[in-house]
Symmetry: C2
């Protein structure tokens, strides 16, 4: 069985669309938010908890699995679905983003990328062919082409990376053998409208069943990100799914869906959960805050997740203060349920022709983290990972 995507509804007042992806491991209704299982586990959750949170597809990272336990090992153990006990659709990235972003980069050439393992310092050479071979061994339903990411605001570098990404896209298509996997192309072009348009048009000429927008949400201002999305989406085939990589804040899901995005992924809900930050209808709260020490209410009165149905903010805060793993688990269940549930509401609203009303109502209520704090914490996190 091969990959299919159909657009079922288009919103009259925005670019939002309702769609259905068919994959060998089941259907995915779009727009969809995918939790990230970097090392073949959505951090802290059992696959059952991930499914109960409502997730229909998860992402796994080729870079991490390539290094540990190794793609051959995963293949010998029956492939990624069986290995991690997740029988629903999986998407793997190509490793490109990690190779460039983890600052383990040694040398880039047209042939490929020499990088150093963050685990043991060993050197590896990743090429488009090697990335596809690795993704075929892992066996996800949707796999991504190997691309070169560049800093968003260096035009010369962005243009060079984009051209190389296009050559690599051709090589990925040529190398791809497994008919049961859908290979998606990735648009690059940094923070430049014309490059984004060129990239989208160029890749549209290639027979990809889906397209991602890469190299965004990497520290650039949000208005730059949305300008690039607006430049890109109209240049992509409307009949193919559009995937905005690495985006997952609640307000951004609405903004992305409004601009015709069908697939989102982000480590945000899982990472925030481990820091004690959880989503509510009004914005994020941090459960470590002393004000919750005796708060008998659940995180969110209206949430149906396991955490909100059984535990108070006071208990969750106690678990965090006491350093208990269960605190991380319960917060993660909530945050994943929240984003996946928000997407379910968005799909229902599109189906009923009231998407922009839901969006405006949500955005009026919800206070996002301000831009300065957002960039600061992203930077802090990036530095911490390098040490």
């Amino acid at each position: 069985m091969s990959f299919e995507f159909t657009v079922q509804e288009r919103d009259g007042a925005s670019g939002a669309r309702l769609g259905l992806m068919r994959t060998p491991h089941g259907e995915v209704e779009t727009p969809v938010f995918c939790p990230v299982g970097t090392q073949a586990t959505v951090k802290t959750l059992t696959p059952r908890e991930v499914a109960e949170a409502g997730a229909s597809m998860v992402l796994a990272n080729t870079y991490h699995l390539f290094l540990r336990p190794g793609a051959e090992t995963v293949a010998r153990l029956g492939g990624l679905h069986r290995f991690m006990g997740w029988e629903h659709p999986i998407l793997t990235d190509s490793g490109g983003f990690q190779v460039f972003s983890l600052e383990n980069l040694r040398r880039v050439s047209d042939e490929g990328v020499l990088f150093r393992s963050h685990i043991d310092g060993s050197e590896h050479f990743l090429t488009p062919e090697k990335a596809i071979e690795t993704e075929e061994l892992l066996g996800a339903d949707i796999i991504m082409a190997f691309d070169e990411c560049s800093p968003p605001l260096d035009r010369e570098q962005a243009e060079r990376a984009m051209r190389r990404t296009h050559q690599w896209a051709e090589r990925c298509l040529a190398a791809h053998r497994r008919k049961d996997q859908a290979l998606f192309g990735i648009v690059q072009g940094g923070g430049y409208r014309d490059l984004r348009e060129e990239s989208a048009y160029t890749l549209s000429e290639m027979p990809f069943p889906g397209y991602a927008i890469g190299g965004l949400s990497v520290g650039e201002p949000k208005e730059v990100m949305w300008a690039m999305v607006e430049a890109t989406v109209p240049c992509l085939p409307a009949s193919r799914p559009h995937y905005l990589m690495g985006v997952g804040a609640p307000e951004d899901l609405f903004e992305g869906v409004s601009r015709g995005i069908d697939i989102f992924d982000s480590v945000l809900p899982t990472r925030l959960a481990r820091n004690g930050a959880v989503f509510t209808r009004l914005g994020r709260i941090n459960l470590r805050n002393a004000q919750y020490a005796e708060d008998p209410a659940p995180i969110d009165e209206h949430c149906c997740c396991y955490t909100c149905q059984h535990f108070s903010r006071a208990y969750l805060r106690h678990l965090l203060q006491a350093g208990e793993v269960l605190g991380l688990v319960l917060n993660t269940i909530h945050n994943v349920s929240y984003l996946v549930g928000l997407m379910r509401e968005i799909r229902a609203a599109i189906a009923e022709g009231r998407f922009t009303a839901l969006r405006d109502e949500f955005l009026a209520q919800y206070t996002p983290v301000d831009e300065t704090s957002r960039l600061r914490s992203a930077e802090l996190y990036r530095r911490r990972r390098q040490t």
Copy 2:
């Protein structure tokens, strides 16, 4: 509804017995193994996972909850059952063991114990009355008297601690108000048969609905522990449940049941799981071992737990190597299921008159950790906690 215990069957060939405890939060079939939820959480597991592992009663630690979040806080949040989302029976210890064992002890007098918090160094004075007040605020179904533990092989100290434990037992009974909680007495007497007998007889004169054997499994040789159990049990009322505190190795469950023990608790299954050690029918294995890197088998072919039904040893090893929380969760699910399931088999065997056959068969197959390694790792763990 008050506490009841009935002995339903007695094994002809050993001291094993089958019983039923009735508590305000449900029935507990005995012999029973209780997982430990030190800080109001069985480490890494959701209450649902604890129940699915088959546990009918869990233990929580008064010492830890007294210090954080505080017993009044737990009471204001509706008591321990509601706080931790566990609607089945709970047993709390009195804090005595931790006060003496965590080496935070400052001064012991007949009045009580002055100790230092391991969290912030603050000083607290715990008396029998204060311990009972705290346990009443927490609201467990079974609560323990406040006792003095002593090193097992110093006779003078053991005798002094035993006498004080008896005085404190009287004071606990006098202080206890809540009719919906069963207050158990604790036998002391170190490693001395005559002291153990004296302690058991003395406490038997007091109206406790259940009796624990304390001050064992604290580093003494196993033959000393079993000699003390053999000295104690016959001196306790046969109609009351007998609880051997802090014991949980598979071979010890059989040995304890053979000697008339009805209740066991131990951090062993949860602590071992976090170190990568898991139980099989043949003994413990450590999943960090390289030999499991590509092992497609579950931990135990015959185990019905969620972990064994869904995951290979290779995946569990990957999670441990990659530092993923899910590895701790899945190992803990297995280890708790294993011990609770073993106890279920033991109860079925007693009911069918084949307990000693099951015991002999199990002990012939199962290789326990040797005594030297056992004492060494207990000592290492103790030291690590002090730093």
